[in-house]
Symmetry: C2
Subunit: 150 residues, 2 copies
Amino acid sequence: MTSTMKVLSNASNYGLRALLYIVSRERGGDAYISLGEISEELDISFHFLTKTMQLLTQGGILVSYRGPNGGIALKRPAEEIMLIEVVKILEGKDFFDTCMLGLEGCDDCNPCPVHHLWREIKGKVKHDFATTSLAMMGQRINEQNLRLIP
Amino acid sequence: MTSTMKVLSNASNYGLRALLYIVSRERGGDAYISLGEISEELDISFHFLTKTMQLLTQGGILVSYRGPNGGIALKRPAEEIMLIEVVKILEGKDFFDTCMLGLEGCDDCNPCPVHHLWREIKGKVKHDFATTSLAMMGQRINEQNLRLIP
DNA sequence: AATAAATAAGACAAAATAGTCTGAAATCCG
DNA sequence: CGGATTTCAGACTATTTTGTCTTATTTATT
Ligand code: SF4
Ligand code: SF4
C-alpha cells in the first residue's frame, strides 16, 4: 500500500523542489548556489539530492562549478525551462506517454477500459508541465509566498 | 527512473483488471469464477493475484468460495461498486488526498507551488473514480470490445 | 604548496514493492 | 472415506527505489 497518489518519484520531487528553490531565491547576478544550502533549506538528504542534481546537470538543465563558492546554477534562462523537461530527465522520456493500467501497445484506437478517463487526465498533466516554466513558478512562489517544505 | 507515469501500484492494476474481467464476462447467474482462470486470461501471476483478491474479499468487494467450482464473485451488485472503493482498499484510504510534491499538512490555504495545477488533476481523478461503477465499466467493455491485456 | 570547499562518481545498505512457493483449510464428488 | 479442486495464510525471494557513505577531482584562498 502506497497510501498516497504518488505521481512522481522522490527523485523528481526533490529535483523540482530544488529548482524551484533556486528560481525563487532572489540573488545578485548568476552566483552559484551550493547543494549543501539546498539540502539544508529543503531538508533533503544531501547525497541523494547530489545524485539527482547531477542528472539535471548531465541533462543540460544545470551547470555546476566546483570549489569554494561553487555550486549549481541554471544553464539557460528560467523562462526557457519547462517543467516537462525536468521530469523527463528524472523519470524517463516516455513518462508522459503511458499510464494507469500500464498496458502496452496503447493508442486511441486500441484502448483499455479506462483510457477515456486517463486520456484527459494525462493530457492535462502533460499540458500543464509543458507550458509551465521555472520562471513562472518562481514568480508565483515569490508573489504568493508559497512553501517548498512540509 | 520509472519511465512511466505510474499512478497505481501493480496490485491495483491487477485488482482492477480482474474485477473488470469479472463484470465484463457474461455468465449465467452468480457462479463463482476461479482465480486460476483470471490469472491465466489476464496473464497475471496466480499467487500475486490471489493475495490481491484476498484484500478485496476482506474489504467487502468480493465473496469467495473454496473447493471445486469455487472461486470469487462480487459481493454486491456491480452498480454499487465504484472504482474509488477498490483503489482505496488496495492503495490505502488516503490515496486520493495527497499528491505531487508529497508535502505534508497541505490544504488550499497552505499550498505548495504546484498545488493549483494538482488540485484540478486530483479533483478530476477522484471524481472519475468516485462516479464510475464496475457495472458502467463492464457495459463499456462489452459494447466497445475493450481489452484488459497487453 | 597547503588547505579548505565544493561537486563527481560510484559502492554500499535499507526499505518498499513485486513476485514465488509451500502448506493448510474448505468443499465437492465418487 | 479419500482424493481432487479451490481459496487462505504466510514465509520466502527478487527487484526497484531510496538513502548513506567514502573517495576522487576541481577550484579558491592563503
Ligand atoms: S489504453 Fe490508455 S489508459 Fe489504458 S493502459 Fe493504454 S494508455 Fe493507459
Ligand atoms: S500543496 Fe497541494 S500539490 Fe502541493 S504537496 Fe500539498 S496537496 Fe500536493
